[in-house]
Symmetry: C2
Subunit: 416 residues, 2 copies
């Protein structure tokens, strides 16, 4: 107890108070429920890994964005940067214990030493689903079915899952004689949404690509059609119950990461303008490159923070999730304390989330407290109620008040 603490949270990091936690848990639980309905199994990995594990696949650019330091044993360690590297490590270490196809979900915070800005944090939560095992268009189609199922349950009315294939893009670049500059060209095309066709053209020219070649690429891309594999994926999506208005083929979709080898997909909403709310793709060579077994893989990552932003902005949050606590039992002090503690104990045995005010205070103060926590009911057994074995129940919203017995109370609380 030497000095006072510095009451300050690091920039880019957030404290989640109960009202925000309620929304985050609501979203997280719907995602988990959906992942499990589709047979994905949970996995968690440590926050710290050997720095060499984290930086394996990345260049120096990305290393700068990692939290890397020496621990007390002089080991170079770093904070989890994404969930793909850790699962690759798991597949490498436990390959004899893991049955294929391996469908895992992982919901954990990741860390980026980036400059914090609106909607960008140094600590944020990724919700990843991946399937490891032989490629099958069923895997991709199920990813889209999961996106549809989860977002619909969350109340989304509009969203689009755009689909493309790196195989198609690669072929176009080969045809244009740009095989060797594939990644740098794709990085520019990836900005089409943000800087438009002219912007992309300028950037490609500055990278030394000839204007005629650029025009040709654009022509090829715009007339591109799904290849056989992607067409199978698209046909299957409908079979998995996703209405056609929620997904489309978009030959201009690129996705940022280098490691994709086939199908790529990204989900966006028109309102609010938050950009992508999730994305993924097929990466058939990455696990082996990372030291794991030679395993094809396809996955998708939901951005928890983005989804929370959207449902807050669009008022999609059901009132009922604001608090789990259904009722406050009033504390009038010694005279009727036993009756009121009996009442709350019986409520809890019926699994009704409930609180008793811990000290005897004026009724108005206790009601105000319940109101501030969005609790809908207060109940009490005063000396009169105690004599008649009754409970006074007050609905805080309507201010209605009536005498009930325990069975009636339970019925009202279970229906509200």
């Amino acid at each position: 107890m030497k000095t006072k603490i510095k009451a300050q949270t690091l920039k880019g990091f957030r404290d989640f108070l109960p009202p925000e936690m309620a929304v985050r848990n609501y979203v997280k639980n719907i995602l988990i429920e959906t992942f499990e309905t589709f047979g994905f199994l949970p996995l968690e990995t440590p926050v710290l890994e050997y720095a060499s594990t984290l930086t394996g696949k990345n260049g120096a650019e990305i290393e700068k964005l990692m939290y890397i330091f020496k621990d007390n044993g002089d080991r170079e360690v770093g904070l989890r940067y994404d969930l793909t590297i850790p699962v690759s490590k798991v597949l490498a270490i436990y390959q004899n214990e893991i049955q294929l196809p391996f469908k895992r979900y992982q919901i954990q915070p990741v860390y980026r030493a980036e400059k914090p800005q609106k909607g960008r944090y140094r600590e944020f939560t990724q919700c990843d689903i991946d399937v490891f095992g032989p490629p099958s268009p069923i895997n991709e189609a199920e990813l889209v079915a999961i996106i549809y199922s989860a977002l619909t349950k969350l109340g989304f009315k509009q969203f689009t899952v755009r689909l493309n294939s790196r195989a198609i893009l690669s072929q176009i670049l080969s045809q244009s004689g740009l095989e060797d500059q594939k990644n740098t060209v794709l990085q520019s095309i990836d900005k089409l949404d943000k800087i438009g066709q002219d912007g992309v053209k300028d950037e490609l020219i500055s990278k030394g690509i000839k204007p005629a070649q650029i025009d040709q690429i654009f022509d090829y891309i715009k007339s591109a059609q799904p290849d056989e594999y992607l067409q199978q994926v698209i046909d299957l999506i409908t079979q998995f119950g996703v209405p056609k208005e929620f997904y489309s083929f978009d030959p201009t979709l690129v996705r940022g990461l280098d490691y994709y080898t086939g199908t790529i997909l990204e989900t966006s909403v028109e309102e609010p303008k938050v950009g992508s709310i999730g994305g993924g793709g097929r990466y058939d060579n990455l696990i082996a490159t990372l030291g794991g077994p030679d395993l094809p893989a396809v996955g998708y990552s939901f951005g928890l923070d983005r989804i929370v932003d959207v449902i807050q902005e669009l008022n999609l949050i059901p009132d009922a999730i604001k608090t789990k606590t259904k009722i406050l039992v009033v504390n009038f002090g010694a005279e009727t304390q036993k009756e009121n503690i009996d009442l709350i104990t019986k409520l809890r045995q019926q699994e009704i989330p409930s609180i008793i005010y811990p000290t005897a205070e004026k009724l108005g103060k206790q009601i105000k407290y319940a109101e501030s926590l969005n609790i809908k009911y207060v109940a009490f057994i005063g000396s009169n109620e105690a004599k008649n074995n009754q409970i006074m129940l007050k609905n805080i919203e309507t201010t209605d008040q009536k005498l009930v017995d325990f069975a009636e109370l339970i019925k009202i609380l279970k229906n509200n």
Copy 2:
């Protein structure tokens, strides 16, 4: 994609594969459900804090056990060491937004740069509940009711919550003229369980306490009775529905931490010998000392890892939690793929967790896969079944096999 990753997990850290995650989630969900039934609200704080925040209350000894480093902005930061310091910070920053009494639960991993050993990890999960606000014996009694409720739901048949009060211990030491050496004497008495009365005596002698004084302390402690506040707590615990065999007054209970001011409590089981599975107490001065508002507090911390160890050791894990996935739909390839995808899509619309094998393989291979994941049923629509609008259902455990329609299938799966 420069080098291969080092497929190695740091010592003292753990990867949790799906079977372990199933058990951890089962325990975590029962704790959350119980906390919410008692009206506790969720809170989360960042993994990184200013090092000065973390080390505020602690001596140099404990700083050595912290992961502290400089981030890219040259700030001294550290990994969360416990959940008490972060909530104190939250109370200091958000004191105008938080309604008192504030009942919060927080379930997050914490980090200790300790030598890893059996049952001791560098990353482990604490599940803390605390009440901030005016002291009331109701708060302490509810903590014991929560412990009883959670452990009973988890299938514990035997456990003891031992209770004592630092106020009683302080009074005894004052009577013995040891007011000034309070903490050092308590640290020795705390070892009574491990080293016995002779061991404690030797240690106290080495600390310069006179043998006569030591004997007097033991006499006082053994004849100690609950003070008025603790007696109220004990009386209330019964009212909150906890049977008497699960808690007791133990005047020799000390608890390690310096900051407790009143009631202290600790839960232990006789089998297996894991020592304490949780503990807590009242700390009425800590929040102010840490720079927060002047707020009395009482709390309890469940050790998730210890509880998981106990229920694994005692075989208290229900079979049903081993997998959420209820059924595997067999993939026979193109001929009946549409029917089988329709089937699984309808199952998922009924929220039955289910998987379809992503590629066409021999039936035996697909059944073996389902078995390895503890999935109880496989179903398929072959070309004969398709003609008759039927589904072949096989129970993997009993090897029973029968033709059913969709309604029957749902009925069987919902009841199993």
